[in-house]
């Protein structure tokens, strides 16, 4: 697996090459002069964009090996051996412990109800059911304008269906599974490099948009022929068209210079012997790292404001080479080692997931932006579907909010849920991102109580 090497160009190098090349039109890269004096806003006065992301791992934590449970909310998260790799980042995140998922008598559809509740605020009525939009899309509806992609969904386990971002059961896009396809989608010919010296809009792009609009107008009459359900589907279709029209419009505009945006190197194609190992944990870790870098830079390059990354899926279809059991099967079948008090192989997988999260945080925090980093201007919600996978426990499901959200949230906090519904975390995230929502969730999951202790 190859990793991209950011092409960092110093301002001096750029000026020298431009002068040497005799280029006449010159657009300066995104420099401090474009920021206000304290680096928190663009010189135009517009605030630095704040973005929202999710990160998913399957199978939760190993009890008593991840985070020291506390009875009260306050600064300081005590990570244990499973989450040791998060220690360097403890001041850039908040941990939520002891939040519950009341299902009001509905079944706990194993490995499904958990993620659905955390992300939609509603319990599913059946396996596979997604009863409400996931919160990333609700946030995207508010902040997503102005970027090329309304959201980018990526998974490192090679299964496109494993995307925990959906409008409903059926409106659930496939995630990007291939690093090369992800790269090409973002940085292919349609990518407008904000730091490129000259910009010439392609006249064909305007024509494409015009043709698309003509066919869309023509289609609108067709809606009259449909029943109510299908009209709804056509509305979704027209929304989707607008996204592509938006992409075409952006191609006609010169992007704002952006020093943080450094186009990564295109990853190499996977070989067959790698493809066949796509869900071996070592391979997942490599793929995740490559895709995380591509995705993070897409955020920095203002290609999207909503970004979702799945490390492992809700059934953890990942395995360790030579082992007969997948991570999921191990959670149920592996015996608890009486000496150490937990399932050792399951623990290894859980720890690998947290190492993956640490890698992701490193990547986001390693991209300079303004006077801080990209992570400072993002809020990433890291969630799973269960507290203790061996028993499919959903009460006490762990959750993290990572990043500063442009100064809108406090970090380094431990939040004790005291058995409150987990929807309080989602409501807090949405309010931090500027979604005008006072109440979120249904039935016993409904809450109008954001966690004010972490809102700045």
């Amino acid at each position: 697996m190859s990793f991209f090497i950011p092409r960092k160009t110093s301002r001096r190098q750029m000026l020298r090459s431009l002068m040497g090349g005799g280029v006449v039109s010159l657009a300066l890269p995104f420099l401090d002069c474009f920021l206000n004096t304290n680096g928190t806003a663009l010189a135009s006065g517009a605030p630095m964009p704040v973005r929202f992301g999710t990160w998913y791992w399957g199978m939760g934590h190993t009890p008593k090996r991840a985070v020291v449970e506390k009875q009260s909310t306050g600064p300081g998260i005590e990570f244990l051996e499973e989450t040791a790799s998060l220690i360097p980042h403890k001041d850039k995140m908040t941990y939520f412990g002891n939040f519950n998922m009341p299902l009001d008598g509905r079944s706990n559809y194993t490995h499904h109800s958990g993620w659905v509740v955390v992300r939609t605020g509603s319990a599913p009525e059946a396996g596979g059911d997604v009863p409400a939009p996931t919160l990333d899309l609700l946030i995207g509806d508010v902040i997503g304008e102005g970027a090329r992609f309304r959201n980018l969904d990526v998974t490192s386990v090679g299964i496109a269906r494993e995307n925990y971002s959906a409008r409903n059961t059926y409106n659930r896009a496939g995630a990007e599974v291939d690093p090369v396809a992800l790269f090409d989608r973002i940085y292919g010919p349609e990518f407008a490099d904000p730091n490129k010296a000259d910009f010439k809009p392609d006249p064909a792009v305007a024509l494409r948009k015009s043709v698309l609009s003509a066919f869309t107008e023509e289609t609108k009459d067709f809606v009259k022929t449909l029943g109510a359900t299908d009209r709804q589907r056509l509305d979704e279709y027209f929304t989707s068209i607008r996204e592509v029209e938006n992409q075409l419009s952006l191609q006609l505009q010169k992007p704002e210079p952006n020093e943080a945006c450094v186009v990564p190197e295109r990853p190499r194609e996977q070989k067959e012997d790698e493809y066949i190992r796509v869900r071996e944990m070592d391979s997942v870790v490599d793929t995740h790292k490559v895709m995380a870098k591509i995705l993070a830079m897409a955020v920095a390059c203002n290609q999207t404001k909503i970004f979702n990354l799945v490390f492992t899926d809700n059934f953890a279809n990942v395995r360790r080479v030579g082992e007969t059991y997948t991570h999921h099967l191990l959670t149920h079948e592996e015996a608890i080692d009486s000496e150490i008090g937990y399932q050792p192989l399951t623990y290894w997988f859980n720890k690998s997931a947290m190492d993956g999260l640490a890698t992701y945080i490193d990547i986001l925090d390693g991209i300079p932006e303004g006077d801080g980093t990209l992570l400072d201007n993002c809020l990433v919600m890291a969630t799973t579907e269960t507290n203790y996978a061996r028993l499919h426990t959903i009460d006490g499901v762990p959750a993290y909010l990572i990043g500063g959200a442009g100064g809108r949230v406090k970090q380094g906090m431990y939040v004790a849920g005291g058995g409150d519904p987990i929807t309080r975390v989602g409501l807090t995230a949405m309010q931090a991102m500027g979604v005008p929502v006072q109440t979120w969730g249904t039935k016993s999951l409904e809450t109008s109580k954001p966690i004010t202790e972490i809102l700045a």
């Binding site: 079944s107 559809y109 194993t110 959201n151 969904d153 090679g158 269906r161 409008r167 059961t169 059926y170 409106n171 659930r172 896009a173 496939g174 396809a181 006249p203 064909a204 024509l207 015009s210 043709v211 698309l212 003509a214 066919f215 023509e218 289609t219 009459d221 067709f222 009259k224 022929t225 449909l226 029943g227 109510a228 359900t229 009209r231 589907r233 056509l234 979704e236 279709y237 929304t239 989707s240 068209i241 067959e272 066949i276 190992r277 796509v278 869900r279 279809n317 395995r319 080479v321 030579g322 007969t324 059991y325 997948t326 099967l329 149920h332 079948e333 015996a335 608890i336 009486s338 061996r390």
Partner: protein, 561 residues
């Protein structure tokens, strides 16, 4: 059912010249009430088939459309509720651009565009009109309306003049056509019909699409569209004529493959993964061959031989290639690495599709077999029985004894069944799955697991078996198997599960299927030529209270209809 419909069945019977089928006209088709018209998103396979049929198989289609949701056991039913997401539209748009570019490139334009522009550096309305008239009819499965045609011609003309190229204009216009709902969705257009129970019926073109996607998994050909235009599909004679023509086409194989890919959930092959340390014989090639072996066996059996469906579970005839030879440990002699017919010896441990690598590997874990997954697949896919979801609050420590000696799957699952909360479901699945335990996760034969001899005996709903081969015989004899196939094939054809008013019709299909000796072709023909398949009610009321109009009622008249 009307007397005319009864006559139609008998006409079809006469055409098949099948003694089994002759008995099928003993009962008339029960009346049904249909369902509101709907629109189904094209599957990836249908999209590919249409493009290849219209423009040729050399057109490359590179892209990954959004996955459909399997509903009532079929993606064909999920397609009825599938929207086009922003990511999905982006993909359709990019694929459309790529297809349109290829159609007008130097290599293809003289073949695929039926006329040459007077001046290739600017718009040519006549040539453009000819192209979009022909291609539009093939892509929309009906002639374009005047307005639709003008949109395509005007848009391409504008591009041609702006960019200085006729073919660029065609490229842009074709891209537009390929992303409209009229192409991407199979639409149940309706028209007034005072003789119909609900006052409406499917248009001839909508009937043609329903028929064509069922039998060929692609859009109607010219002859079917002509029959639709002439109104032939509204008459029993015309419909049966077209059904028979299509049943005798080589394209029927494509339709049957598509049904079984959906019915058996073969999409799972896309994400199949095995541990190559544990199973060195496994490879991506072997997995692809396993899927193809299943489909070759099925098509050979139910289409080419028109043999009884239940015998798919017992047939010793199949096909082999070099990749499978390594799994089955059978020398494959064909020098070019292609497929060759193979018949398992009478005393072999294998018989039927359930003992092929495809089924055995698809319903196993990456590193071990799974009697539970295999049993669940048999129950749900082949017998249409719902196995309840596992309970959440299960403490596996109750029956996971870390100090127990190495055990077989039967030992482990017997332990599972001691937990009352697990026993109910495991008793449904495991007795079936344990019958396949002599085949490992990739379908290799074995006699022992961890040194302990495997006991593959059990019973299937009271039908005792001693090993996989006799389990296959039990499946052959199970009355639920043909009933399930009947139900699912009708669901597949209609894009929805049968409604309450269709239960009698499904029983009628089952009876005819049985009387035909379980000929799948007879079942398919009965569905395709039935009244029920095309029966619709009025569209749902719109949210604004406006009664939904039909395409024929709108101001845009269909051309040539």
């Amino acid at each position: 059912m009307s007397f005319k419909t009864y006559i139609r069945s008998c006409t079809a019977i006469a055409l098949t010249a099948s003694l089994f089928f002759l008995s099928a006209c003993s009962e008339p088709e029960p009346a049904t009430n249909g369902a509101p018209p709907d629109m189904r998103l094209l599957t990836s396979e249908q999209y590919r088939n249409i493009i290849h049929d219209v423009f040729g198989e050399h057109i490359e289609i590179a892209g990954r459309f959004d996955p459909l949701v399997r509903t009532d056991g079929l993606f064909a039913v999920g397609a009825r509720s599938a929207p086009i997401t922003p990511k999905g539209f982006e993909e359709y748009y990019n694929v459309a651009r790529s297809i349109a570019r290829q159609v007008v490139n130097e290599e293809n334009k003289l073949v695929l565009i039926p006329c040459e522009p007077v001046d290739a550096s600017r718009a040519d309305e006549a040539c453009s009109r000819q192209f979009f008239t022909d291609v539009g009819r093939a892509l929309y499965r009906r002639p374009l309306t005047d307005s639709e045609l003008e949109t395509a011609v005007d848009a391409s003309g504008k591009v041609a003049d702006e960019l200085g190229g006729f073919y660029e204009g065609v490229e842009f216009g074709l891209t537009g056509l390929l992303v409209t709902p009229n192409f991407l969705f199979i639409i149940d257009a309706t028209e007034q019909d005072s003789s119909a129970a609900g006052g409406v019926r499917l248009t001839g073109y909508a009937k043609a699409s329903r028929l064509s996607f069922l039998l060929w998994n692609t859009s109607p050909d010219d002859m079917l569209l002509e029959a639709a235009a002439a109104g032939d599909l509204h008459s029993e004679k015309g419909l049966v004529r077209e059904v028979d023509r299509m049943m005798n086409s080589i394209r029927l194989e494509r339709g049957v493959r598509a049904f079984f890919e959906d019915f058996l959930d073969l999409e799972r092959f896309e994400n199949l993964e095995k541990d190559t340390i544990i199973y060195p014989a496994y490879s991506i090639n072997a997995a692809e061959s396993a899927k193809e072996q299943l489909l070759l066996t099925i098509v050979d059996h139910v289409v080419d031989k028109d043999a009884a469906y239940p015998e798919l579970f017992t047939t010793r005839e199949t096909f082999m290639d070099e990749h499978l030879g390594r799994i089955y440990k059978i020398p494959v002699t064909r020098p070019d690495g292609g497929w060759e017919r193979y018949e398992f010896p009478a005393d072999d441990r294998r018989a039927g599709i359930l003992t092929q690598m495809g089924f055995l590997s698809l319903f196993s874990h990456p590193g071990k077999s799974s009697p539970t997954l295999r049993g669940k697949a048999v129950r749900e896919l082949l017998l249409c029985q719902k196995v309840p979801d596992p309970p959440a609050e299960v403490d596996f420590s109750l029956f996971n004894d870390p100090n127990a000696p190495s055990r077989t799957a039967r030992d482990r699952l017997t332990a599972h069944s001691t937990a009352p909360s697990c026993a109910g479901c495991h008793k449904l699945t495991d007795p079936i799955g344990l019958g396949f335990e002599q085949f490992d996760s990739i379908g290799q034969f074995r006699v022992a697991e961890q040194g302990v001899e495997i006991d593959p005996s059990g019973d299937l709903d009271g039908l005792a078996y001693s090993d996989a081969k006799s389990l296959a015989q039990a499946m052959h004899d199970h009355p639920g198997a043909p009933a399930c196939l009947t139900n699912q094939m009708y669901s597949y054809a209609a894009g929805r599960a049968p409604g309450r008013g269709e239960r009698e019709f499904v029983r009628y299909l089952e009876a005819n299927f049985s009387e035909s000796g379980h000929s799948l072709k007879v079942l398919l023909r009965n569905i395709a030529s039935s009244d029920a398949l095309y029966m619709v009610t009025k569209p749902e009321q719109g949210p604004d209270g406006v009664r939904a109009a039909s395409l024929k009622d709108s101001s845009n008249k269909e051309r040539g209809s």
